[in-house]
């Protein structure tokens, strides 16, 4: 135990020096680091949102609505097909995750599968014993579509947040249907939620000129129409509280090329431009419907319902009406970023102002420094020279822990700082074990060298077992982990590993060096 091959000594020394070098960048500011030559280590520990301030949101994509909407689209196509093939039905509806069809002649059920497949190849047809035919997506197809919807949602959220111009937002998928959004250094959670919470589904639809809104409000909506409320929140009210619109969408937000906000006659408006296919469809529709009303619908509310005075062929247009300059600006941003494929629900929010973060860093650092100081003084008081060796090991332990956190790009949170203070307190346990053991061996009558050797050897099995069980608890904490607590688990586990290295290698190395000077008296 007390013989260290030279390569082991050198490895220990090199690891310690590397640890200090890799930990050093954390003491410098980012600006100083950027000026240094590129070959120097520059990784810093990234600070969690609780330390640097920022907004954290956990969003859930409404996957059920993704499927329902896709089924609704298929339903329209299917209806057309059924009429074309002259297959009679008494009802055709979407019920949650499937389409239900009741056929006039149950024998027609056999004709359905090929028909359904022309509408969408992923749909499967099942005939129930009671004659009702259910049409739904196969489980694989449904999962694939939902995954796609989550991915698209992430892209849209990213585009919207990028428009804010903040640096390094994190937007990541979590689990099957959740999106984690972290925007460091941003402290207006309400604005962020406004931005992310809106689906921003924009459609252009014709107003049914013959429809009776009052009858529709009583529940008699003509087939192919829908009743849509007018937007109430703006400064200007529309003529009607409800509009009866054709369900068929002429153009939607997906066909927008650009959308910008400007002023026209001192009134905020949004100027937009369609892509080629959107422009053509919009041109055709306006040519056929001169003199009639069309409606611009956003997230289920009519924004405006202007009269078509002449065909609009250039593919550009304006939305005016109930805007404040801020809401127009926001809407233009949302339209540029595109619509979300499904509504998002905010499950969890955490916003920390930059001042609180700075206070937390200060408090955490003070606590750590005081903790290390107390532990170091304690060790010297109780173990003399060997206590100093333990303190040197403690210093390298701290350096290695910071280096490991920097290298791994781990996120340091306030509980993480607590974890550092705690690990450093517990790390010296190994030194306590070794030193107490040496004393004991001396009492049993061993010579100094033999006692030191036995002390290290016997204490190691104990140290390994004790640390391994501790690591198990840390691992479970990591798995449970969310945000700051996960950060704590990471520092705890890494701290256990680095402390194993420093107490086994570093403090032993110092004792071996000390023994080379042929001391006569045990200093503990």
């Amino acid at each position: 135990m007390l013989v260290f091959q030279p390569w082991k000594s050198w490895t220990t020394i090199i690891v310690c020096v590397l640890g200090v070098l890799l930990a050093l960048p954390n003491l410098a500011s980012r600006a100083t680091l950027d000026k240094l030559p590129s070959w120097l280590p520059k990784n810093q520990i990234s600070l969690g949102l609780d330390l640097q301030g920022g907004v954290h949101l956990l969003l859930e994509v409404d996957l059920a609505s993704v499927t329902t909407e896709q089924l609704n689209n298929s339903l329209d196509a299917l209806r057309t097909q059924l009429i074309k093939e002259k297959i009679g039905y008494t009802s055709l509806t979407v019920d949650k995750q499937q389409i239900l069809v009741t056929l006039r002649d149950p024998a027609d059920a056999a004709k359905l599968p090929p028909l359904v497949h022309t509408v969408d190849a992923d749909l499967t047809v099942t005939t129930q014993p009671n004659g009702i035919v259910t049409i739904g997506f196969s489980p694989q197809a449904q999962t694939a579509r939902q995954t796609d919807a989550v991915e698209r949602s992430i892209n849209v959220v990213r585009k919207r947040i990028d428009e804010l111009g903040t640096r390094e937002p994190t937007i990541a998928r979590e689990g099957a249907d959740r999106i984690l959004v972290q925007v460091p250094g941003y402290d207006d959670p309400e604005k962020l939620k406004d931005l992310i919470g809106k689906t921003a589904k924009l459609t252009f639809q014709m107003v049914d000129p013959t429809g009776d809104v009052e009858e529709a409000q009583k529940g008699h909506v003509p087939p192919g129409d829908e009743l849509v409320p007018a937007e109430q929140s703006g400064p200007k009210q529309l003529n009607q509280a409800f509009y009866l619109l054709r369900k068929r969408v002429i153009v939607d937000g997906g066909d927008l090329l650009t959308a910008n906000f400007t002023f026209r006659d001192n009134e905020p408006v949004i100027v937009f431009k369609f892509n080629a296919s959107g422009a053509r469809r919009f041109g055709d529709a306006t040519t056929q419907n001169v003199g009639k009303l069309f409606a611009i619908v956003l997230d289920g509310h009519v924004l405006s319902a202007p009269v078509i005075r002449e065909p609009i062929l250039g593919g550009t247009g304006e939305i005016s009406g109930s805007f404040t300059s801020e809401s127009a600006q926001n809407l233009a941003l949302l339209l540029r970023a595109g619509a979300l494929p499904a509504p998002l629900t905010i499950l969890e929010q955490s916003a920390v102002g930059p001042d609180l973060g700075a206070d937390s860093i200060r408090a955490g650092t003070t606590a750590c420094v005081v903790a290390v100081g107390l532990v170091a003084v304690f060790m010297v008081l109780f173990y003399g020279l060997f206590g100093i060796y333990a303190d040197i090991a403690l210093f390298f332990n701290l350096a290695l822990l910071i280096a490991a956190l920097s290298l791994l790009g781990a996120t340091l949170t306030l509980p993480g700082i607590a974890g550092i203070a705690l690990t450093l307190g517990m790390a010296v346990d190994a030194n306590v074990l070794v030193n107490e053991r040496i004393r004991e061996e001396v009492r049993m009558g061993r010579t100094m060298i033999s006692a030191i050797d036995a002390g290290f050897t016997r204490a190691y099995a104990t140290i390994l077992d004790a640390n391994f069980t501790h690591l198990i608890a840390g691992g479970c904490l990591f798995m449970l982990g969310s945000g700051p607590v996960k950060g704590f688990a990471v520092t705890l586990c890494l701290g256990i590993l680095t402390s194993l290295f420093t107490t086994i290698m570093v403090s032993r190395l110092f004792v071996i060096w000390w023994l080379r000077r042929r001391p006569k008296l045990l200093p503990i």
Partner: protein, 312 residues
């Protein structure tokens, strides 16, 4: 350089065996009391677990008049508003219960408070947790704690004997449940950070227990004919200086956290400090004496029958 203090130069002869019934009785009482408290009073769950809104606001116009703020916020009809100064008189923690009506309702409630309090306050922190996530986190937390206890017991059983594994899981369970009991008794807020503290306590306590078990095993091998109570007493006394010193040094580090770490981790530090006390106690008075009852196998005991066979 010589040490200034030497703690227990010679191991003491504390009669742990004589005291162990007292210890076990106390622990059984504490465990049952904690169980009863948890069943009747329950835990004061923070928003991490039950959902709700917590805001930390700092007034820009000096100390906050809590009564005025309370009546303003009560006017919003958002349920029972709890206010508490947080470290300084101009710093207030506002807690709102989970708003009825799902995840969106939470956001509306928080937005309303923000509007009402307006520009006179700096919003230092806003945490909102909807009902869905809260429920999941209780489950995940309970699962992690159980998993940690089982894995630790499994490891100890693997490295020692199964009897030691039982001792480890019983003493860890004791530490976890009495800590929960303390939180229930004092109605301290129980949140994710507290849960982290409890798992850390489990880890710390088992660390202590393993050191003592290790010594029991060693003593068992060394004195093959010594009675088990004497062996446990010897092992506990011989490791006592280490037990006390390690606990003190860890407690020093935690004390630094408690005094200087700020309000946010105060609950965590308090739980840890308690955990060091209960963890050390349980290693001495639960984990070790339990071995007297579940008697680990001794090498002498296996040898005995085979020797008689040879004798025949």
């Amino acid at each position: 350089m010589r040490p200034v203090f030497v703690f227990l130069q010679v191991p003491p002869h504390l009669p742990f065996f004589k005291l162990h019934r007292l210890g076990l009785a106390l622990s059984i009482f504490l465990t049952i009391a904690s169980g009863v408290l948890l069943a009747t009073r329950g835990l004061n769950y923070g928003i991490d677990f039950k959902g709700g809104i917590v805001m930390e606001v700092k007034s820009s116009t000096g100390p906050v008049d809590l009564e005025a703020m309370r009546s303003t916020l009560d006017g919003l009809k958002l349920g029972e508003v709890a206010l508490q100064t947080f470290g300084a008189p101009d710093d207030v923690l506002i807690r709102l219960p989970r708003q009825p009506g799902g995840d969106d309702a939470q956001n509306k409630g928080a937005a309303l408070v923000r509007q009402t309090l307006g520009d006179k306050y700096e919003f230092r922190r806003t945490d909102i947790v909807g009902p869905k996530v809260g429920g999941e986190q209780i489950q995940a937390g309970a699962l992690a704690t159980l998993l940690a206890m089982v894995l630790i017991a499994g490891y100890v059983a693997f490295r020692f004997e199964w009897q030691f594994g039982i001792g480890a899981i019983v003493s860890t369970f004791h530490d976890v449940i009495t800590t929960l009991g303390l939180f229930s008794l004092l109605q301290l807020e129980f949140n994710l950070t507290t849960l982290a503290a409890i798992l850390t306590i489990a880890g710390y306590s088992i660390n202590d227990t393993v050191v003592i078990y290790d010594r029991v095993r060693e003593t068992l091998r060394k004195y093959k004919v010594m009675e088990l109570p004497k062996i446990v007493d010897l092992a506990l006394n011989e490791t006592l200086s280490r037990t006390v010193l390690t606990s003190s040094v860890t407690a020093l580090a935690v004390l630094a956290l408690l005094l200087f770490g700020g309000e946010v981790i105060r609950g965590f530090s308090a739980a840890m400090l308690w955990g060091i006390v209960i963890g050390t106690y349980s290693s001495l008075f639960i984990a070790a004496p339990l071995l007297l009852y579940i008697r680990p196998r001794r090498s002498g005991e296996i040898l005995a029958p085979s020797q008689t066979m040879i004798a025949k």
